[in-house]
Every structure is written in C-alpha cells, then in structure tokens.
C-alpha cells in the first residue's frame, strides 16, 4: 500500500534537493550587481507610463456575454429538433418548460437593464 509509493517519495526528495542545490549554487557563485534598469519589472521591456488600473466600459462585454449565454442555450434546440417526433408530446412539453426558464432569464435581464446601451 504505502510501500509502493517509496520510489515516488525518493523521486520527490531528489527533485527538491536538486532545485535547492541549483538555486543556492547560482545565488552563491553568480555575480550580483544590481542596477536600476535591471530591477525593473520588465527588464529590457517597455516601461509602463500609465497606471495599470484603468476604468473600461463593460457594456460591450455585457452584451457579448449575454449573447453567448443565449447562444449556447439555443444550441440545445438542435438535438431536440432532430428527435422531436420520437420524443412525442413529452419532448414538446419539456422544451416548453426549458423555453419558459429561458424567458424568465430574458425578462430578468431586460428588467434589470442589461439590454440598455446607455
């Protein structure tokens, strides 16, 4: 049971030892000459000149997200449509239940202003 995992344990120990040794060696042996541009977040990169926390309009994302949600849900209609006749009345009513739930969701978004652009 536990014994069969001993090789794994040895492996983990070797990995940890190796990582530790390599990091320590490069820290001890490597030259260390800090410089302002070397310590910049992106060494040799473009220096950021404006704050990263910018306010963006989320209207586009909201519309896109709503579209994707309803798009994915409407995909469920396709497999249903293929076997609609075999499912008989039960399938039809089941789909009306599903559409009813979608309708409540749409009404919710509408009423809460999710569809307003301004």
């Amino acid at each position: 049971m536990l014994e069969s995992y001993v090789p794994l344990l040895i492996f983990v120990l070797i990995v940890l030892g190796l990582i530790g040794a390599l990091v320590t060696l490069s820290f001890v042996l490597g030259p260390n000459k800090p410089h302002k541009s070397k310590l910049a977040p992106y060494e040799s990169g473009i220096v950021t000149d404006t704050p990263a926390h910018k306010r963006l309009s989320v209207r586009f994302y909201l519309t896109a997200m709503l579209f994707i949600i309803f798009d994915v849900e409407s995909v469920f209609f396709y497999p249903w449509a293929v076997i609609m006749r075999q499912l008989k009345w039960f399938g039809l009513i089941e789909m009306f239940v599903f559409m009813g739930i979608l309708l409540i969701a749409l009404a919710h978004i509408w009423r809460k202003g999710g569809l307003d652009w301004d």
């Binding site: 049971m1 076997i83 008989k88």
Partner: protein
C-alpha cells in the same frame, strides 16, 4: 458507408416514468420552482418591497424542500432516477435536508445583514437559492456528468455572491480569486473525470465500480484520473496543500456568504468525494486512501498551525476549516476499507460530523455577522472585546461554538471527532489519528484565544442590535451544538441510515 441510426434507440419516456423520476429528486425540483418564482417576484414587485418578498419566497421554498426530503426519508421508495444519472437515496436525502437547513440559517442571518449594509437583497437570496440547488444536485448525482453540473451551479453562484460588496476592494479580490482558483479546480475535476471515463467507458458511478471490479489490473489512466479528481476535490473542500485561496476568499466575502460557503461547499464537496471515491472506486481504495491520507495530514498540520497567528476571526475560522477538512478526511479514508463494518462506521462518522459542523461553524460566523456595521464587516479579534457586556447571550453562545469546534465534551464537536477518530483507528490509520489528536490539542489554543476578548472588559458597552431572525438562527445552532452533544445517537442513526446500501455490495 455506415447507415445512420443503425440501432433504433427507444426514446419513449412514459408519463409515469417521468413522474417517478421527478419524485426521486422532489426536494431539488421544489427548490428550483421556488427559485424561478423568486426571480419573477424580484421582477414584478416595486423596488422597496422586493427584498422582503424574495426572502419570503426563499424561506417557503427551503421549508417545503426540507419537508419533502423529510417525507421521502420516512415514506418514499428511494432509488435511482433518470436512467441512473441521479438518485433519491437516503444519502442524497440526508444532504438535501442538511442543505435546506443551511439555506434557512443563511436566510435568517443574511436578511438583517443585507439591510444594515444596504445591499440589494433580491438577487442575493436568488443566488444563494441557486447555490443550494447546486449542492443538492451534487449530493444526488450518481453520474460524473451530473456531479459536475451540480459543482458548477454551486461554484458559479458563489463566485458572484463573494463579490457582493461591490464597493470593497477586498470583496472584489475575493470574488476574482475564487473564480480563478475555482476554475482551476473545476478543470482538474473535469480532466480527472474524463480520464476515468476513458478508462472505464461509462460516467455512471455504479457502472464504473462494476467495470473496475471486472478488470483486475490497475489502469494508469484511472489512477491519473483519481489523482486529478482528488486535487480538484481538495480545492473544493479547502484541504491543504490546496487551501491557499481559503483565507483570502473567506475574508473578502460578506460574512453571511463566508458562513454559508464554509459549511456548504465543504459538505457538498465531501458528498461528492464519498459518492465518487467510496461509491465508484472502492476497488482502487488503497490508491486514493494514500492520496487522501497525505492531504488529511497536511491539512491538519497546516490549518491548525496557521490559525494560531491569525488576528482576523474570518481568517482564523478559514484555517480552522482547513484543519476540520483534514479531520473529516479520516472518516472518508476509513470509508474505503473493504470491511463493511469499518466502512459504514467511517462514512457515518463523516455524515455525522458534517451535520454538526454546520451548526457550530455557522453559529460562530453568525455571531460575527451581527457585529458588522453599515460600512463593513468587523471581524478582528479586538472587535469582539466586551461582547459579554454588549450581549451576554451571544457571548455564551460564542463560547459554546468555540468549545464545540475545539472538541470539548459535552458539546457535539467532541462526539464528531470521537466517531471520526475511532473509525480511523479501526481502519488501521493510527498514525493519522495520532496526528489528528496532537493537532486538536494545538487547536484548543486558538479557539480559546477567541474567547479571551469575548469575556474581557472593554470601553464599548453599547448594546448590540440583534435582529429576531438572526438571533433565532444563532440560538438554534447553539442549542443544537449542546443538545446533540448530550444525545448524539439520533443524528448518528440518521447518518448510519444515510450510508447507501449500494456501497456495500461487490
């Protein structure tokens, strides 16, 4: 060219079958109906009355769901439904009752909290309803697909309510962190499920067990699947070393959400772990037991040691939750043993502990909820100073919760731990139980440390405002923590009955 639809699949689904299936998941169906109704109420009423109306609808939904589950527990013919994709067995009913009670407690505590902090109440209750439904789906899932569906419903609702204090950076951070880490966890779980499906050719948990029993050789695909699912579950139940998100998310989220999440996700996660690991993969138990034993030991050590240095009550309880997940895992490990008696004892102890953990942990969080002011949560240990003057009843109840969490008799936490540890010893995991007992001793320090400010004097002597509903919820939790400790057998019997018979078959 292959002819399309070579085998005609019988798609007829009779009305009687539909009704039978629906009645198996009646508690979930009831709550779903009320969820839809709550959304409509939220739309139809004027803004000023929405919050109360939605809360009322949610309350009726929880109570009816609880009553349905209770009725089915006593009188229903419980069994599989929807061609084996879900079930209405006693195991799922046990958890459905647990989640319905949790929903009621959350509603009672959050109602006044939302008013005090001037949050929009309607959507909050709707989202919590959705999360509770997700938990119930998770508990009654007997297919990997249904389990994942429940997991996502639960997680997505919680991502939103974690960021419910929109003006606070901490709350936003909490939601973003939970979303990212939760997404990772879901991906791990899904990948593991895909591998198990690849190794067995079915997603139905009973069929997985049958397939694995037939093939004697251990398939590396399934082993890898177990590891990946184990990692994902460990994320969800916030067990170390996958617990890093817990303190930050718990601290940032509004307190009722933290209270709900700390109990609910954990119980739902364990329901899934038991159903899939103990129910679907019993033949590979030695493999996942090793994994869970490692996770349990790390959780207990890391959780208890990190909790000592916390000064925020939310963070302290978050780390305590990590440790508690470790204790509960001992029971799950015992639930993987081949001996039916040990197995039953292990799984029953898990169900028992999760049930009583709900009351003690939720109660502790609920007391902190009442301390919150309009501007934010007050969850530093120093905020508790002089609580015994400001509200003697709450000081006593807080003491009950902390002592119960620490595992002092006669409170129920003691019996929970006793059953878990006994099951662990009889399963042969004595070393794990030794770790658990040593770490329980450590935990006494920080649980009692919370009580020092509660019973110390302070300059603040103003009376605290307690709403009726939240007081009732806290008193109920406190009373049950004590009464169930005096009479633990009632819940233990229910827990034992909740362990499915199907787990014991070959």
């Amino acid at each position: 060219m292959m002819p399309l639809a070579a085998t005609a699949v019988d798609l007829t689904y009779s009305w009687s079958q539909a009704l039978a299936d629906l009645s198996q998941i009646a508690p979930i169906a009831t709550l779903t109906l009320f969820l839809l109704f709550a959304i409509v109420v939220d739309l139809a009423l004027p803004k000023s009355r929405r919050g109360d109306a939605v809360a009322m609808v949610a309350a009726v939904g929880y109570v009816l769901s609880l009553a349905t589950a209770f009725y089915r527990w006593n009188y229903g013919d419980n069994g599989p439904a929807y061609q084996g994709y879900a079930t209405g067995d006693k195991f799922s009913l046990f958890f459905e009752m647990l989640f319905a009670v949790l929903g009621i407690l959350t509603l009672a505590v959050s109602h006044s909290y939302l008013k005090r902090r001037r949050f929009v109440a309607g959507e909050f209750h709707v989202l919590i309803l959705a999360a509770v439904i997700g938990m119930m789906v998770l508990a009654s899932a007997t297919s990997l697909v249904t389990a994942f569906l429940g997991l996502e419903l639960l997680s997505i609702s919680l991502y939103i309510v974690c960021g419910y204090a929109r003006g606070e950076t901490k709350s936003q951070e909490s939601a973003a962190k939970y979303l990212l880490v939760g997404g990772f966890a879901s991906a791990f779980v899904l990948y593991g499920m895909a591998l198990v499906y690849g190794g067995t050719g079915t997603t139905l948990i009973p069929d997985i067990a049958k397939t694995l029993q037939a093939s004697s050789s251990s398939n590396p695909l399934i082993l890898l699947g177990i590891v990946l699912m184990g990692v994902g579950f460990a994320f969800k139940i916030s067990a170390a070393p996958f617990h890093m998100w817990t303190p930050d998310v718990y601290q940032g989220a509004p307190i009722p959400v933290t209270a709900f999440m700390s109990v609910g996700t954990k119980a739902a996660g364990f329901a899934m772990v038991i159903r899939i690991f103990a129910g679907g993969l019993p033949h590979l138990a030695p493999e996942w037991q090793v994994l869970l034993a490692f996770v349990a030991a790390t959780s207990m050590i890391v959780g208890n040691l990190m909790a000592i240095v916390q000064s925020s009550l939310k963070r302290l309880l978050a780390y305590s939750g990590v440790a508690q997940a470790g204790y509960v895992l001992i029971g799950v490990i015992a639930g993987g043993q081949a001996d039916p008696a040990v197995r039953a004892a292990g799984l029953a102890s898990v169900l028992f502990y999760l049930f009583v953990y709900m009351f003690m942990n939720f109660g502790a969080f609920a007391v902190v909820t009442a301390l919150a002011g309009p501007e934010g949560d007050r969850d530093r240990l120093s905020d508790l100073e002089g609580l015994y003057r400001r509200s003697p009843l709450m000081a006593i109840l807080m003491t009950v919760f902390m002592l119960s969490l620490a595992g002092f008799p006669p409170f129920v936490g003691f019996f929970g731990k006793l059953f878990l540890f006994t099951a662990g010893v009889s399963a042969g995991y004595t070393w794990l139980v030794v770790v658990a007992v040593v770490m329980s001793v450590v935990s006494v320090y920080y649980y009692v440390r919370v009580l020092i400010p509660v019973w110390s004097s302070s300059v603040r002597t103003d009376k605290l405002e307690w709403s009726v509903s939240s007081t009732m919820a806290i008193v109920l939790s406190g009373a049950l923590s004590l009464v169930l400790g005096l009479y633990p057998t009632t819940v233990l019997i229910a827990s034992t009955l909740g362990v499915p018979i199907s787990f014991f078959g070959p």
